[in-house]
């Protein structure tokens, strides 16, 4: 259970805990494994490796604006949030060569991965979960190799974990700031704002929490929008215009001409997920966050495989034996492994192609996992249908 702590002095984030953690042998092992995982992921995605696995990060260098270290959102459209743009810009402008750029990018991602691993460990330990699950459900997951030095998702994972950890320690304003920073790496933490705010006792606390979480991304976006509205808006528009990707919806909407309705359906489903999780009678913020982000992945029309990273810590922070984790992960890994085997047309995002079959299996498995986590059983569903005929 994750609750706002009554203990802890203002301004400190569990310094004693951190000091103790530094001397913790288990944590040291986790840090070593984390380092090994990031290095392995960096190797398999590096363009110097032959063969190598595709990575968005290496492909960015192929963009002239990135290679020339132009400023994202100002000089060109960049379809990722500002923190991602900042890291990309820093890596490109400091690195100047593709190898150095890639090394720097990998290094930044390494920091966030390490932070995520440590925070997961600290939360697990504090909440009484088995810390060895970090290996099974996080560090040794296939996606940690295939989708880590691949995109920016681990940054988002880090900030969500930081938000949970600080919230657990009673530092709710810091927690709200972490969510705000998380939004600057991926928009999904926005979904967590209501369930975090729900845990606070007074309207005032809730208001402050929401204000901080919202203000950070607004303040980061506003000057950029003021300087170069077109390029700033272009990044968001890029997402609005993007079609279905690795979503089960593609089997219901095989014709890309019908995807506007698919997106509408997806939006409705996301709203239902958000509403359902908000009213879910469960005080456990970790479970609620798991349900919220997992439900979002099921409902969204873009479920890129690297998004799995956002859920890993929640598998760790659970008392359930989630046996479907590996089939779910393998299906996820198979998406990119089969991606470039599909000729265009129809292309890998088309229905009935191997990547999309993998995505469908992955969605079904995630559905079952979420049913297990939220304790929804067949009987629950039957009751849902038959109650108040």
């Amino acid at each position: 259970m994750l609750n706002v702590s009554e203990e802890g002095s203002p301004g400190s984030i569990d310094r004693r805990g951190l000091r103790a953690a530094i001397g913790d042998r288990t944590l040291l092992e986790i840090m070593i494994v984390t380092t090994a995982v990031v290095v392995l992921s960096a190797i398999v995605h590096s363009s110097s490796s032959q063969p190598n696995i595709y990575s968005d990060i290496t492909s960015f260098w192929g963009r002239r604006e990135v290679a020339e270290a132009l400023i994202p959102y100002v000089d060109f459209v960049f379809e990722y949030p500002q923190l991602c743009g900042l890291i990309t810009y820093a890596s490109a402008s400091i690195g100047r060569t593709p190898q150095a750029y890639y090394a720097l990018m990998s290094f930044f991602l390494y920091l966030f991965t390490m932070g995520s691993a440590v925070l997961t460990y600290l939360i697990a330990k504090r909440s009484g979960f088995d810390t060895s699950r970090i290996y099974r459900y996080f560090l040794l997951a296939p996606s940690m190799i295939i989708y880590l030095v691949y995109n920016f998702d681990i940054i988002n994972t880090f900030f969500v974990l930081l938000a949970l950890y600080t919230f657990q320690r009673g530092k709710t304003r810091l927690s709200a700031a972490s969510i705000g920073l998380g939004v600057l790496s991926k928009l999904t933490p926005v979904l967590l704002i209501p369930i975090f705010a729900q845990k606070l006792k007074t309207w005032r606390q809730q208001l402050v929490f929401v204000a901080i979480a919202v203000a950070i991304p607004v303040l980061a976006n506003a000057p950029i929008a003021a300087v170069s509205f077109e390029n700033w808006w272009g990044g968001y528009k890029w997402h609005i215009d993007w079609g279905l990707e690795n979503s089960w919806l593609v089997f219901l909407f095989p014709d890309s001409g019908s995807w506007d309705t698919a997106k509408l359906l997806s939006d409705i489903l996301i709203l239902l997920v958000v509403a359902r999780v908000i009213v879910w009678k469960n005080d456990d913020l970790i479970q609620k966050s798991f349900a919220m982000l997992g439900g979002f992945l099921l409902a969204t029309y873009v479920y890129t495989p690297q998004m799995n990273l956002m859920l890993f810590p929640f598998f760790v922070l659970s008392s359930e034996s989630l046996l479907l984790f590996y089939p779910w992960e393998l299906a996820n890994a198979f998406i990119i492994l089969s991606w470039f085997t599909v000729p265009t047309p129809p292309g890998p995002t088309a229905a009935y192609t191997t990547p999309q079959w993998s995505a469908l299996v992955r969605a079904l498995l995630l559905l079952l996992i979420l049913a297990q986590v939220t304790k929804v059983r067949g009987r629950t569903l039957l009751n849902w249908v038959t109650s108040k005929w």
Partner: protein, 464 residues
């Protein structure tokens, strides 16, 4: 949609006199029964009222169901959008997909009529006419469920039955009447908290007409407002509300998509029902007007005006009008319209000007003091959910809107008028007057007129 077929005929016919069949009005006598027995009889009569009303409506409709029909001179006898739907069902009966821009259930019902009664006016219209009669009865039960007042329910049903637009829309082979019947079924089960059944009806209504979903939106808003907002109970209330919403969304979606799937797989129209849904939504989004002066707007604000607006005044749209001119010695003696299907309002429509402010005031009291006024909210939310989308369509999306879209709003207004006129303190004469006006209006615009009917109208100096 919205194409007008106006058939004008000039016929000369000899003046004929018809005599009333000598019916003797039986004046009711009061006081000859024991008061208890009288109350029981009255109650039983009110119990039977929805059936009686539905049968009367059905009888009236069956009397005129063959008019208009094909004529030897080549007239097809289609009223209004029948010109779209009857050729479509003929095509569907021949095994081809047709009119894919609308969901298929209403057309399937029309096809059933044609299969049973043949390709003639009875076949085209019989299931529509039955749907409308069912709606009249269902509205009684909906109102009864809401107010527990049989007299009020009776009045509501009568107002709906005699609304000219509702009557005409429920007489001709277009999509709306079955959609309304299924929607009212949904409303009934919704009010009874039988949400699975309600959502099945939603699915069927959606399979008749996409806009049926608006009524559900109104119901959900009503449900949310049906409990006072109390601190600490909001999440619980929201949870119950979301459960209901989920039922209607998922079960309604499954039912409607199954229906579309049957259609699509039979006619090989679309790969999946959801693609069909996308096609329908895209099609309807594309129906935009270029010239605002050609549109009758929902509100009397520019580019609409007081004399070209749904809820003030608009020129009656002739869905099918025939003109007979009688002349003697080369002089026109009289001119009348034995068939006059008009798209026109009835006085009930204007009550929106009173009902909405009352509802808004009650809403203010709800948020201010937590006072719940269920009937007011029901009326307000229904009106808002069915009327406001048309405002958005017309003014924001510049999409064509037609006066008969108001059909979905009418049941709520009927509930509202009868509710307020039967409240304690309101003189009974008020509801009698309103009913009389409504009936007279109905008589005036009844679409198929006998000679006697015409003569009465002419003798009253009205346009017959």
């Amino acid at each position: 949609m919205g194409d007008l077929e106006v058939v004008e005929k000039a016929e000369e016919s000899p003046v004929q006199e018809e005599k009333n069949g000598g019916e003797t009005a039986k004046a009711g006598r009061q006081g000859w029964l024991d008061p208890g027995v009288e109350a029981l009889l009255r109650s039983k009569l009110l119990d039977l009222a929805p059936v009686i009303l539905a049968l009367v409506v059905l009888g009236l409709k069956l009397m005129i169901i063959t008019t208009p029909g094909p004529d030897p001179s080549g007239g097809k006898g289609f009223v209004f959008d029948e010109a779209h739907y009857i050729p479509a069902i003929r095509q569907m009966l021949n095994g081809s997909a047709a009119n894919n821009e609308h969901p298929p259930l209403s057309k399937a019902l029309m096809m059933l009529g044609v299969i049973v009664f043949g390709d003639n006016p009875v076949g085209w219209r019989i299931t529509i006419v039955i749907s409308d009669a069912v709606s009249v009865a269902l509205l009684y039960y909906v109102t009864l469920e809401l107010t527990k007042n049989k007299l009020l329910a009776c009045a509501t049903s009568l107002f709906f039955a005699t609304d000219v637009m509702s009557f005409n829309i429920g007489q001709i082979a277009i999509l709306d009447a079955p959609a309304m019947a299924f929607s009212l079924g949904m409303v009934f089960f919704f009010l009874r908290k039988r949400h699975v059944l309600g959502s099945l009806f939603l699915g069927l209504a959606f399979l008749c007409k996409l806009t049926s979903i608006f009524i559900l939106v109104g119901l959900l808003a009503y449900l949310f407002l049906s409990k006072p907002l109390r601190k600490g109970e909001l999440t619980k209330h929201l949870g119950e509300w979301i459960e209901v919403l989920e039922k209607y969304f998922f079960i309604g979606l499954i039912v409607s998509m199954l229906g579309l799937w049957v259609y699509d797989s039979h006619y090989r129209a679309f790969n999946t029902p959801l693609e069909h849904l996308d096609f329908m939504l895209s099609y309807h989004s594309s129906l935009t007007y270029q010239n605002a002066s050609e549109v009758v707007f929902p509100l009397p604000i520019p580019p609409g005006s007081l004399t070209n607006c749904w809820i003030t005044y608009f020129a009656p749209a002739g869905y099918f009008v025939t003109t007979v001119t009688e002349s003697a010695n080369g002089q026109v003696v009289k001119e009348y319209h034995p068939i006059a299907y008009y798209g026109i309002y009835s006085p009930i429509w204007w009550t929106i000007w009173a009902l909405v402010p009352i509802g808004l005031y009650e809403l203010y009291r709800y948020f201010r003091r937590g006072e719940v006024s269920k009937v007011d909210f029901f009326i307000l939310m229904w009106v808002a959910a069915t009327f406001l989308p048309n405002v958005v369509f017309a003014y924001v999306m510049h999409r064509w809107v037609y006066t008969f879209y108001f059909y979905d709003v009418i049941p709520a207004l009927c509930v509202g008028v009868s509710y307020y006129l039967t409240r304690p303190g309101v003189p009974k004469i008020a509801i009698i007057i309103v009913t009389a006006v409504q009936l007279f209006w109905f008589f005036n615009f009844f679409p198929v007129r006998s000679k006697l009917h015409t003569d009465i109208l002419l003798s009253l100096g009205l346009r017959a």
